[in-house]
Protein backbone atom coordinates (compact mmCIF):
# COMPACT_ATOMS: atom_id res chain seq x y z
CA UNK A 1 0.00 0.00 0.00
CA UNK A 2 1.41 3.37 -1.02
CA UNK A 3 1.93 6.29 1.35
CA UNK A 4 2.26 9.99 0.61
CA UNK A 5 3.13 13.02 2.71
CA UNK A 6 0.69 15.91 2.62
CA UNK A 7 1.70 19.05 4.50
CA UNK A 8 -0.69 21.93 5.03
CA UNK A 9 1.69 24.87 5.06
CA UNK A 10 1.42 27.70 7.54
CA UNK A 11 -0.90 29.85 5.42
CA UNK A 12 -3.43 26.99 5.38
CA UNK A 13 -3.16 26.65 9.18
CA UNK A 14 -3.53 30.40 9.81
CA UNK A 15 -6.38 30.70 7.28
CA UNK A 16 -8.32 28.02 9.17
CA UNK A 17 -8.46 25.69 6.17
CA UNK A 18 -7.07 22.50 7.69
CA UNK A 19 -10.39 20.70 8.06
CA UNK A 20 -11.56 21.76 4.63
CA UNK A 21 -8.32 20.52 3.06
CA UNK A 22 -8.14 17.22 4.98
CA UNK A 23 -11.65 16.34 3.86
CA UNK A 24 -10.55 16.44 0.22
CA UNK A 25 -8.07 13.60 0.78
CA UNK A 26 -10.27 11.67 3.22
CA UNK A 27 -13.33 11.60 1.00
CA UNK A 28 -11.67 9.87 -1.97
CA UNK A 29 -10.79 7.00 0.34
CA UNK A 30 -7.22 7.82 1.33
CA UNK A 31 -6.53 6.78 4.92
CA UNK A 32 -4.98 9.21 7.38
CA UNK A 33 -2.26 7.21 9.17
CA UNK A 34 -0.17 9.99 10.78
CA UNK A 35 -0.74 13.61 11.66
CA UNK A 36 0.90 16.29 13.77
CA UNK A 37 1.14 20.03 14.11
CA UNK A 38 4.82 20.93 13.92
CA UNK A 39 7.02 23.97 13.39
CA UNK A 40 9.81 22.65 11.18
CA UNK A 41 13.37 23.71 11.90
CA UNK A 42 15.46 25.22 9.14
CA UNK A 43 17.40 21.97 9.01
CA UNK A 44 14.25 19.96 8.30
CA UNK A 45 13.25 22.57 5.74
CA UNK A 46 16.58 22.18 3.96
CA UNK A 47 16.44 18.39 3.99
CA UNK A 48 12.88 18.47 2.70
CA UNK A 49 13.96 19.84 -0.68
CA UNK A 50 16.63 18.11 -2.81
CA UNK A 51 20.22 19.29 -2.67
CA UNK A 52 21.12 18.15 -6.18
CA UNK A 53 22.48 19.96 -9.18
CA UNK A 54 19.81 18.45 -11.42
CA UNK A 55 17.05 19.83 -9.19
CA UNK A 56 18.62 23.30 -8.99
CA UNK A 57 19.08 23.32 -12.77
CA UNK A 58 15.47 22.30 -13.43
CA UNK A 59 14.10 24.93 -11.03
CA UNK A 60 16.51 27.61 -12.31
CA UNK A 61 15.60 26.91 -15.92
CA UNK A 62 11.91 27.24 -15.11
CA UNK A 63 12.49 30.65 -13.53
CA UNK A 64 14.70 31.85 -16.40
CA UNK A 65 11.98 30.87 -18.84
CA UNK A 66 9.49 32.91 -16.82
CA UNK A 67 11.84 35.93 -16.82
CA UNK A 68 12.29 35.63 -20.56
CA UNK A 69 8.54 35.42 -21.17
CA UNK A 70 8.02 38.55 -19.11
CA UNK A 71 10.99 40.36 -20.67
CA UNK A 72 12.62 40.92 -17.28
CA UNK A 73 16.38 40.90 -16.80
CA UNK A 74 17.11 38.30 -14.09
CA UNK A 75 20.43 39.97 -13.19
CA UNK A 76 18.71 43.27 -12.50
CA UNK A 77 15.97 41.52 -10.53
CA UNK A 78 17.71 38.85 -8.45
CA UNK A 79 21.37 39.48 -9.20
CA UNK A 80 22.10 36.39 -11.27
CA UNK A 81 21.25 34.63 -14.53
CA UNK A 82 22.91 31.38 -13.50
CA UNK A 83 20.36 28.60 -13.41
CA UNK A 84 21.98 26.74 -10.52
CA UNK A 85 22.29 29.89 -8.45
CA UNK A 86 18.68 30.74 -9.17
CA UNK A 87 17.70 27.17 -8.22
CA UNK A 88 19.45 27.61 -4.88
CA UNK A 89 17.72 30.92 -4.30
CA UNK A 90 14.34 29.32 -5.00
CA UNK A 91 15.17 26.57 -2.52
CA UNK A 92 15.97 29.19 0.11
CA UNK A 93 12.59 30.84 -0.47
CA UNK A 94 10.87 27.43 -0.29
CA UNK A 95 12.54 26.69 3.04
CA UNK A 96 11.47 30.09 4.41
CA UNK A 97 7.88 29.37 3.41
CA UNK A 98 7.86 25.86 4.88
CA UNK A 99 9.31 27.06 8.20
CA UNK A 100 7.44 30.37 8.65
CA UNK A 101 5.08 28.91 11.27
CA UNK A 102 3.46 25.67 12.44
CA UNK A 103 2.33 23.33 9.66
CA UNK A 104 0.07 20.27 9.72
CA UNK A 105 2.07 17.27 8.51
CA UNK A 106 0.15 14.15 7.51
CA UNK A 107 0.63 10.77 5.88
CA UNK A 108 -2.16 9.38 3.74
CA UNK A 109 -2.23 5.76 2.63
CA UNK A 110 -4.01 4.10 -0.27
CA UNK A 111 -3.71 2.66 -3.77
CA UNK A 112 -1.69 5.11 -5.86
CA UNK A 113 -1.68 7.55 -2.93
CA UNK A 114 1.11 9.72 -4.36
CA UNK A 115 -0.58 10.38 -7.69
CA UNK A 116 -4.00 10.69 -6.04
CA UNK A 117 -2.53 13.19 -3.58
CA UNK A 118 -1.01 15.26 -6.40
CA UNK A 119 -4.24 15.21 -8.37
CA UNK A 120 -6.29 16.49 -5.44
CA UNK A 121 -3.62 19.06 -4.52
CA UNK A 122 -3.50 20.50 -8.05
CA UNK A 123 -0.82 22.26 -10.10
CA UNK A 124 2.12 23.84 -8.27
CA UNK A 125 1.36 27.17 -9.90
CA UNK A 126 -1.96 28.33 -8.39
CA UNK A 127 -2.95 30.25 -11.51
CA UNK A 128 -2.81 26.98 -13.46
CA UNK A 129 -4.51 24.82 -10.82
CA UNK A 130 -8.01 23.84 -11.92
CA UNK A 131 -11.13 24.33 -9.78
CA UNK A 132 -11.88 21.24 -7.73
CA UNK A 133 -8.25 20.91 -6.66
CA UNK A 134 -7.23 22.36 -3.31
CA UNK A 135 -4.95 24.92 -4.93
CA UNK A 136 -7.50 25.71 -7.63
CA UNK A 137 -10.15 26.39 -5.01
CA UNK A 138 -8.14 28.23 -2.36
CA UNK A 139 -5.22 30.06 -4.00
CA UNK A 140 -4.86 32.85 -6.51
CA UNK A 141 -1.07 33.34 -6.68
CA UNK A 142 0.87 33.42 -9.97
CA UNK A 143 4.45 33.38 -11.25
CA UNK A 144 4.62 37.10 -11.96
CA UNK A 145 3.62 38.05 -8.42
CA UNK A 146 5.78 35.34 -6.83
CA UNK A 147 8.84 36.43 -8.85
CA UNK A 148 8.23 40.12 -8.23
CA UNK A 149 8.01 39.48 -4.50
CA UNK A 150 11.00 37.12 -4.59
CA UNK A 151 9.22 34.24 -2.93
CA UNK A 152 7.79 30.85 -3.99
CA UNK A 153 4.16 30.26 -4.95
CA UNK A 154 1.99 30.49 -1.85
CA UNK A 155 0.30 27.26 -2.81
CA UNK A 156 -0.94 25.99 0.57
CA UNK A 157 0.08 22.36 0.31
CA UNK A 158 3.06 20.13 -0.08
CA UNK A 159 2.31 16.77 -1.66
CA UNK A 160 5.00 14.12 -2.33
CA UNK A 161 6.00 13.94 -6.00
CA UNK A 162 7.41 10.42 -6.33
CA UNK A 163 8.02 7.14 -4.47
CA UNK A 164 11.49 8.32 -3.55
CA UNK A 165 10.30 11.72 -2.32
CA UNK A 166 7.51 10.14 -0.27
CA UNK A 167 9.92 7.67 1.38
CA UNK A 168 12.40 10.43 2.24
CA UNK A 169 9.72 12.75 3.57
CA UNK A 170 8.08 10.08 5.74
CA UNK A 171 11.43 9.48 7.37
CA UNK A 172 12.20 13.20 7.69
CA UNK A 173 8.90 14.25 9.24
CA UNK A 174 7.81 11.18 11.24
CA UNK A 175 9.16 8.47 13.49
CA UNK A 176 7.79 4.93 12.95
CA UNK A 177 5.77 5.06 16.20
CA UNK A 178 3.90 8.12 14.91
CA UNK A 179 2.48 6.12 11.99
CA UNK A 180 -0.64 4.09 12.74
CA UNK A 181 -2.60 1.25 11.25
CA UNK A 182 -6.34 0.71 11.26
CA UNK A 183 -9.12 -0.29 8.88
CA UNK A 184 -11.41 2.42 7.59
CA UNK A 185 -15.10 1.71 8.00
CA UNK A 186 -15.66 1.89 4.23
CA UNK A 187 -12.52 -0.06 3.22
CA UNK A 188 -14.16 -3.41 2.54
CA UNK A 189 -16.88 -1.92 0.36
CA UNK A 190 -14.39 0.23 -1.55
CA UNK A 191 -11.56 -2.22 -2.12
CA UNK A 192 -12.80 -5.82 -1.88
Amino acid sequence: MERTVIIIKHDGVARGLMGEIMQRYERVGLKLVAMKLVHATEEVGHSHYPDEEAWYTKVGERSLEEYENKGIDPIAHIGTADKIEIGKLVKKWNVEYLTEGPVLAMIFEGYGAIKMGRKITGETNPSKAVPGTVRGDYTIDNAEVANAKKRPFRNLIHSSGSDEEAANEIELWFTPDEIHDYIRADADMMFK
Binding site: G16, M22, E26, K31, L32, V33, M35, K36, L104
Partner: protein
Protein backbone atom coordinates in the same frame (compact mmCIF):
# COMPACT_ATOMS: atom_id res chain seq x y z
CA UNK B 1 -11.50 34.56 29.06
CA UNK B 2 -8.87 33.11 26.72
CA UNK B 3 -8.86 29.39 27.34
CA UNK B 4 -7.30 26.21 26.09
CA UNK B 5 -9.25 23.01 25.68
CA UNK B 6 -8.37 19.43 24.85
CA UNK B 7 -10.24 17.70 22.06
CA UNK B 8 -9.79 14.02 21.24
CA UNK B 9 -11.24 12.54 18.08
CA UNK B 10 -11.99 8.94 19.03
CA UNK B 11 -11.35 5.78 16.96
CA UNK B 12 -14.80 5.53 15.37
CA UNK B 13 -14.59 9.08 14.03
CA UNK B 14 -11.10 8.37 12.62
CA UNK B 15 -12.31 5.12 10.98
CA UNK B 16 -15.27 6.94 9.49
CA UNK B 17 -12.80 9.45 7.97
CA UNK B 18 -14.48 12.43 9.60
CA UNK B 19 -11.34 14.12 10.91
CA UNK B 20 -11.42 16.97 8.38
CA UNK B 21 -15.12 17.62 8.90
CA UNK B 22 -14.66 17.76 12.66
CA UNK B 23 -11.60 20.02 12.41
CA UNK B 24 -13.54 22.35 10.16
CA UNK B 25 -16.24 22.87 12.80
CA UNK B 26 -13.72 24.00 15.39
CA UNK B 27 -11.78 26.12 12.90
CA UNK B 28 -14.90 27.80 11.51
CA UNK B 29 -15.91 29.12 14.90
CA UNK B 30 -12.49 30.77 15.24
CA UNK B 31 -10.65 28.41 17.57
CA UNK B 32 -6.92 28.16 16.94
CA UNK B 33 -5.10 24.81 16.80
CA UNK B 34 -2.25 24.87 19.34
CA UNK B 35 -1.12 21.23 19.20
CA UNK B 36 -2.16 18.04 17.47
CA UNK B 37 -1.00 14.45 17.09
CA UNK B 38 -2.33 11.09 16.03
CA UNK B 39 -1.63 8.54 18.77
CA UNK B 40 -2.50 5.03 19.85
CA UNK B 41 -2.44 5.21 23.66
CA UNK B 42 -2.06 2.21 25.97
CA UNK B 43 -4.78 0.93 28.31
CA UNK B 44 -2.99 2.59 31.25
CA UNK B 45 -2.69 5.94 29.50
CA UNK B 46 -6.39 5.91 28.68
CA UNK B 47 -7.51 4.72 32.11
CA UNK B 48 -5.44 7.30 33.96
CA UNK B 49 -6.85 10.16 31.88
CA UNK B 50 -10.18 9.74 33.67
CA UNK B 51 -10.84 11.09 37.18
CA UNK B 52 -12.60 7.91 38.43
CA UNK B 53 -14.51 9.96 41.03
CA UNK B 54 -18.03 9.02 42.14
CA UNK B 55 -19.25 12.21 40.52
CA UNK B 56 -17.70 11.22 37.20
CA UNK B 57 -19.29 7.73 37.27
CA UNK B 58 -22.64 9.19 38.32
CA UNK B 59 -22.54 11.74 35.50
CA UNK B 60 -22.14 8.96 32.92
CA UNK B 61 -24.92 6.91 34.58
CA UNK B 62 -27.29 9.84 34.50
CA UNK B 63 -26.73 10.29 30.79
CA UNK B 64 -27.72 6.65 30.19
CA UNK B 65 -30.82 7.16 32.33
CA UNK B 66 -31.73 10.23 30.27
CA UNK B 67 -31.36 8.16 27.10
CA UNK B 68 -33.54 5.35 28.54
CA UNK B 69 -36.21 7.80 29.65
CA UNK B 70 -36.20 9.45 26.25
CA UNK B 71 -36.67 6.02 24.61
CA UNK B 72 -39.68 5.44 26.96
CA UNK B 73 -38.00 2.35 28.38
CA UNK B 74 -37.56 1.17 31.96
CA UNK B 75 -34.04 1.09 33.41
CA UNK B 76 -34.79 -1.85 35.76
CA UNK B 77 -36.14 -3.99 32.92
CA UNK B 78 -33.47 -3.01 30.42
CA UNK B 79 -30.33 -2.92 32.54
CA UNK B 80 -31.26 -4.37 35.92
CA UNK B 81 -30.57 -1.17 37.85
CA UNK B 82 -31.59 2.46 37.92
CA UNK B 83 -28.72 3.56 40.13
CA UNK B 84 -26.66 6.11 38.14
CA UNK B 85 -23.49 5.21 40.03
CA UNK B 86 -23.84 1.50 39.22
CA UNK B 87 -24.59 2.28 35.58
CA UNK B 88 -21.64 4.67 35.47
CA UNK B 89 -19.32 1.95 36.76
CA UNK B 90 -20.62 -0.44 34.08
CA UNK B 91 -19.68 2.16 31.45
CA UNK B 92 -16.35 2.98 33.09
CA UNK B 93 -15.19 -0.58 32.49
CA UNK B 94 -16.03 -0.45 28.80
CA UNK B 95 -14.86 3.03 27.94
CA UNK B 96 -11.18 2.05 27.75
CA UNK B 97 -12.02 -0.78 25.33
CA UNK B 98 -13.68 1.82 23.11
CA UNK B 99 -10.56 3.99 23.05
CA UNK B 100 -8.45 0.94 22.21
CA UNK B 101 -10.35 0.25 18.97
CA UNK B 102 -7.92 2.34 16.90
CA UNK B 103 -5.76 5.45 16.77
CA UNK B 104 -7.14 8.73 18.09
CA UNK B 105 -6.31 12.35 17.35
CA UNK B 106 -5.45 14.45 20.38
CA UNK B 107 -5.52 18.20 19.92
CA UNK B 108 -5.35 21.43 21.91
CA UNK B 109 -7.37 24.45 20.80
CA UNK B 110 -7.30 28.00 22.10
CA UNK B 111 -9.70 30.91 21.99
CA UNK B 112 -12.28 32.95 23.86
CA UNK B 113 -14.28 30.61 26.11
CA UNK B 114 -12.69 27.74 24.17
CA UNK B 115 -13.97 25.11 26.62
CA UNK B 116 -17.65 26.06 26.42
CA UNK B 117 -17.48 26.81 22.70
CA UNK B 118 -15.93 23.41 21.93
CA UNK B 119 -18.49 21.58 24.10
CA UNK B 120 -21.34 23.44 22.44
CA UNK B 121 -20.09 22.50 18.97
CA UNK B 122 -19.50 18.88 19.95
CA UNK B 123 -23.01 18.55 21.41
CA UNK B 124 -24.59 16.33 24.05
CA UNK B 125 -23.01 12.87 24.35
CA UNK B 126 -26.31 11.04 24.03
CA UNK B 127 -26.64 11.26 20.23
CA UNK B 128 -30.46 11.04 20.21
CA UNK B 129 -30.57 14.07 22.50
CA UNK B 130 -27.83 16.06 20.75
CA UNK B 131 -29.06 19.05 18.78
CA UNK B 132 -28.81 19.03 15.00
CA UNK B 133 -25.95 21.34 14.02
CA UNK B 134 -23.68 19.92 16.71
CA UNK B 135 -21.12 17.34 15.62
CA UNK B 136 -22.77 14.55 17.64
CA UNK B 137 -26.21 15.61 16.41
CA UNK B 138 -25.02 15.52 12.81
CA UNK B 139 -22.75 12.47 12.76
CA UNK B 140 -23.87 10.04 15.43
CA UNK B 141 -26.91 7.93 16.16
CA UNK B 142 -25.60 5.41 18.67
CA UNK B 143 -27.75 4.54 21.68
CA UNK B 144 -26.16 4.30 25.10
CA UNK B 145 -28.96 1.95 26.22
CA UNK B 146 -28.35 -0.41 23.34
CA UNK B 147 -24.60 -0.08 23.90
CA UNK B 148 -24.87 -1.15 27.55
CA UNK B 149 -27.10 -4.08 26.64
CA UNK B 150 -24.45 -5.14 24.13
CA UNK B 151 -21.75 -4.84 26.76
CA UNK B 152 -20.00 -1.82 25.27
CA UNK B 153 -20.00 1.91 25.84
CA UNK B 154 -21.88 4.41 23.69
CA UNK B 155 -19.74 5.91 20.95
CA UNK B 156 -19.29 9.42 22.23
CA UNK B 157 -17.15 10.21 19.19
CA UNK B 158 -15.29 13.25 20.52
CA UNK B 159 -13.91 14.14 23.89
CA UNK B 160 -13.83 17.85 24.82
CA UNK B 161 -12.69 19.13 28.23
CA UNK B 162 -15.50 20.08 30.62
CA UNK B 163 -13.90 22.87 32.64
CA UNK B 164 -10.61 24.69 33.18
CA UNK B 165 -9.19 22.20 35.71
CA UNK B 166 -10.05 19.28 33.46
CA UNK B 167 -8.54 21.03 30.43
CA UNK B 168 -5.28 21.75 32.25
CA UNK B 169 -5.02 18.19 33.59
CA UNK B 170 -5.89 16.62 30.24
CA UNK B 171 -3.51 18.77 28.18
CA UNK B 172 -0.72 17.77 30.57
CA UNK B 173 -1.82 14.15 30.41
CA UNK B 174 -1.75 13.85 26.63
CA UNK B 175 0.94 16.38 25.70
CA UNK B 176 3.17 16.38 28.79
CA UNK B 177 3.98 19.08 31.33
CA UNK B 178 6.36 20.80 28.91
CA UNK B 179 4.02 20.44 25.97
CA UNK B 180 4.94 22.67 23.07
CA UNK B 181 1.81 24.66 22.28
CA UNK B 182 1.95 26.86 19.20
CA UNK B 183 0.52 30.05 20.70
CA UNK B 184 2.73 32.41 18.72
CA UNK B 185 0.75 32.69 15.52
CA UNK B 186 -2.54 34.40 14.76
CA UNK B 187 -5.39 33.19 12.64
CA UNK B 188 -5.62 35.50 9.62
CA UNK B 189 -9.16 36.42 10.62
CA UNK B 190 -8.12 37.12 14.20
CA UNK B 191 -8.45 40.89 13.99
CA UNK B 192 -11.75 40.81 12.16
CA UNK B 193 -13.22 38.23 14.55
CA UNK B 194 -12.04 39.90 17.74
CA UNK B 195 -11.88 43.53 16.65
CA UNK B 196 -13.87 44.64 19.67
CA UNK B 197 -10.99 43.38 21.82
CA UNK B 198 -8.53 45.35 19.78
CA UNK B 199 -10.53 48.53 20.27
CA UNK B 200 -10.83 47.85 23.97
CA UNK B 201 -7.12 47.36 24.30
CA UNK B 202 -6.25 50.61 22.52
Amino acid sequence: MHERTLIVIKPDAVKRALVGKIFQRFEDVGLKLLACKMIRPTREEIDSNYPHTEEWYKGMGEKVLANIKDSELDAMTELGTEDPLKLGRMIGEKIVDYWLEGPVIASVWGGNHAIKVARKIRGFTVPALADAGTILGDYSSDSSTRALKEGRTGRTFIHASGDQDEAKREIEHWFGKDAQLFEDYDRVDHLATFIQNVWNEQ
